[in-house]
Each structure stands twice: as C-alpha cells, then as structure tokens.
Symmetry: C2
Subunit: 303 residues, 2 copies
Amino acid sequence: MTNQPRLFGAIEAGGTKFVVAIGNERGEILERERFPTADPASTLAATHAFLRHRGKALGALESIGVASFGPVELDKASPRYGCIGHTPKAGWSGTDMMGGLAREFRCPIGFELDVNAAALAEYRWGAARDVDHLVYLTIGTGIGGGVIIGGAPIHGLMHPEIGHIYPRRHALDLGFEGVCPFHGDCLEGLASGPAILARTGAELRQLDATHPQWEIEADYLGQLCAQLVLTVSPRRIVVGGGVMSSPRLLSLIRPRLQHWLGGYIERGEVHASVDGYVVAPQFGDNAGVLGALALAMDAAAQT
Amino acid sequence: MTNQPRLFGAIEAGGTKFVVAIGNERGEILERERFPTADPASTLAATHAFLRHRGKALGALESIGVASFGPVELDKASPRYGCIGHTPKAGWSGTDMMGGLAREFRCPIGFELDVNAAALAEYRWGAARDVDHLVYLTIGTGIGGGVIIGGAPIHGLMHPEIGHIYPRRHALDLGFEGVCPFHGDCLEGLASGPAILARTGAELRQLDATHPQWEIEADYLGQLCAQLVLTVSPRRIVVGGGVMSSPRLLSLIRPRLQHWLGGYIERGEVHASVDGYVVAPQFGDNAGVLGALALAMDAAAQT
C-alpha cells in the first residue's frame, strides 16, 4: 500500500492576472497556469477547468486556497464572506470567489486578501520565517500591505489598506498631484509604478541613479515603513513588487526610515541591523500563489 | 467555611502620577491611592507600602498588574522584560518595574504598556466590550495608543508608538514648529495638550468655539484615526485623555476621518454609524488602573 501524496489547489486571483496551481505539502508547486484577468464568469471558468483537469491527472485535491485582490470580505460571520467588495475593476464588484469552488470541488476552501496571503508565504517558508509579526508590502501598479500578528493575518473592520495613507510631500515633489482616483496624492498616488510613470515617463529602474525620483520614492516608502513601525510594530518588513525590482531602492529606503523615526524607536533591528529589518521577499512574484497554497493547507488542517 | 474574596493589586505607573489600588474580580476598585511620580526608588517604595499595608488589612493579593508608561520591554524572552526603556523622564530609564514586586509579594505579576492596559479595560468592561479588535487613544500631555487584536495587545518589535506619526500639516497651522523633542511636528508635537498651549496660551476647552484651533486639532486627530483604519483596521477607536474633555471635539473628528478616507473604506461603521465607531472611553481617567487590574487577573489565570 502506497501513501498518496497530498495535493492542494492554489489560486492567486489578481486584478491583472490569475495564477492557478497545484502544490504539495512541502510548499512545492507541481503545475501552474496563468492567464489575464477577464470578466468574472470566464476567468473563474478557466480557473475551475484547470483544477478539474489537472487535479484529475494528479489526484484529488484535499483543499483549495484563494488569495484574492481586494477589497474582500474576510468576516466568516458575514453573508458576503469570500466576496469581492466595491472595486474599480469592471464587473468584479460583489463576485463570490468561493461559492462555485465549494460547490464543484466539495473540499475546504481557504480565503484571504492577496497581500495577506503573500505575507503568510514569506512567514511560513520565506524571508520572515523566523518572526511571527511582520508586514509584507507590494509596490507596483498599486501599493498594498499584508500584516501578520502572532502568526495570523489581521482581520478587523476589514483589512489593512496601507497604500492609502498620506505621506508628507517631498520638497522636490510639491507640484505633482498624484494618480490615486480616490485620494489623489495618497501614498499609492505618489509612489506606485503609475505615479512614477506619470512624473517621468519611465519606470524607476530606467532612470539614471542621479534622477531625483529615486530620492523621492525612497522617502515616501521610508515614511510608509516608519508609519508601520509606529502603528503595528512589526519585527520585519518585507518589500516586494515591480517598483522594487532594482535592489538599490531598498538600500535608499532604510536611511529614510531611520530619518522619520528620529531616533525614537530604540531597537537594534531598525538601526544597526536595518539591513535585516527591511528586506526583499524570498519568493518575489511567487509569494501570492504560495500564499494560496498555505491557505489551502490551513483550511485542510482546520477540518 | 466562607469563601475568601479574591483580591488583586493594580498599579498604574504614569509619567506624572502613580495610581495604586486593590480590586476584586468584578473589576471593582476597593481601595486606591495616588501620588506624584518622583524618583524611582521613593515612588516604588510608596507603591509597595500601599500594597503591603492595605493588602494586609484586606487579605492576601492573588496577583498584581502593572500598567506602565513607556517605552517598556514587553518581550518575555528579553532580560529587560518589565523594564522601562530610554525615557526623557529623569532617572527612570532602565527601571525594573516588576522585579521588586515579584521578590516582595511572591505572586504572579502582569505587565503592560499603560495605553495597552487601558485598551484592555475598555475591551473587557467598557466602551469596546462587544469587539475584539480596537484602538485606545489618549490625547493629553502626550499622545499614545494601545492596539488590541483578537483580544490581546499588540507586541511586536516593541509596541505601537502611535503619537509619533506625521500628519499632513493643516493649512491654518503652517507656521507652528511643534513641541515634540524628538520630531518637532509629529502628531504629538502638533496635537498634544502642550502643543495647543504653546500655540494659544490656553487649553482647548477654554477657547471660543470659533477659534481655528478646534478645526486644526480635529483635522490632526481625524488623520490619526484614518491612518489607523488603513494600517490596523480596528472595529472601534476609543479616544480619551485630557484634550478630549470637551465632548464637542469628538464630533469634529468624525467628519475629518471620513474626509481623509475619501470614501475608500466602504464600511457602515465609519460612515453612517461613525458615532459608534470613534467613541469616548467609558472609564475616562480610570481606564489605566482598571487595565492594571485586568492584567493582574490575567496573570493569575495563567499560573
């Protein structure tokens, strides 16, 4: 008699792309597919089809994890648990991300905000596996953050929306109005990829090292890290996303974090050892789908 | 045979005053004494003397809770657990707040940051007893905040230091440099009692309702609440402290919170029902010592 390997479904439901995968309990992805996010019906149909056909080939799925773009309803007591809230993404407001999966696959389904799931992956297997209190940030088309406290993602009124805090404006950036459709010059409006593009016509990594945009970006992200130290007091901050693809940016953020803390937080982690406090993710673009795999494993363990 | 009533010691160790009390398991204070915070040796000696003499009169103390001004070491694995960190309060840096109590009273000692303890009291018995995810703010000589998630205060790198975030400057307040010795115009430097006094020569409640300081103060505190919604996503924000002694201020803060959120957080709690989202504490000045009592009860339960 042989032991069947345990298999889990993992869905990273992003605003621009879906990644659907089947993985094992060692956090390894065995098969994956990615496709652009279209309308909900056809996108979810493609998701189901992958899990149905590949799952049939590999073996039965024990559970499925969904890491979804937000806003999402995370309150299990709510009738809208597992649904997407009001989103500018056309057609997706109110979409039920779990119901169809539960009906077809009849297995436990784990559900989380995408950045909370990515935080979970880095916490369980990656750049924050030695701490149980961390923030995962993604700086890309938007700015988002997942917060894990005591090993579990924060769920409160809803979930953190860290990208929409208001940093103080940088002295070299006073004329830019910002690109956030809700807030104009909130952090996402000032420091996301589209904000950099709107100012400079380029991506950050394409700009000369002396271009002031580097300093402006590092200052805004340093303020973000400082705000997080002062409000949720993480033991590590993991910063990923497309804008971070130049490693130089991380080294510019750290001194700005220290500047904004003003010597007030006396912890070696944010001073002498700041290189180990604000860090790059281990999994890069894979954090989301690995987070979905972790959610699936947790959902299986809880039943 | 009669049941002895259970008795607990409670110490609110503030930067300007100590409150020492003996309470019961119903959250009732039976005896209390308050005295100004002097040097550590004489202040702690007075604290011990109260507990020793009044405890002898009432019965043995089952445990003691300490709610201390910060910064404090909350990591039980640290050799400095229970000690005050570097503080501008002369003579108190490094003071061990627990060791002497443990040696003399030989009972479990609970220890927390003062604002975390106050949050715990409002969570257990007060204005937030129906939610398990809240922030407690105190706006007074300084600005501090305690955060409770899943029923437990946040301990991370250290503890939140919410008073030192940087709000955007109000248009009517651009000339004021702020009073925080660390940061100048951080929130505490702009919106604490001493900041109001430095600008106007008066306390807020003494100023005419048309004085621009009302609008400035409400805007800064509305920004604070917005930052908290976006980072820790509490289900309620309880706002106390001397500056809040005029109930009018709370009603001015709520619309500023909504302004800074810009319609992004779609939860009835922060819109239609905002009166129930940003609220006054139930216990006012007593939250700290009641929090210490709750800490004592928790310490007894954990042994």
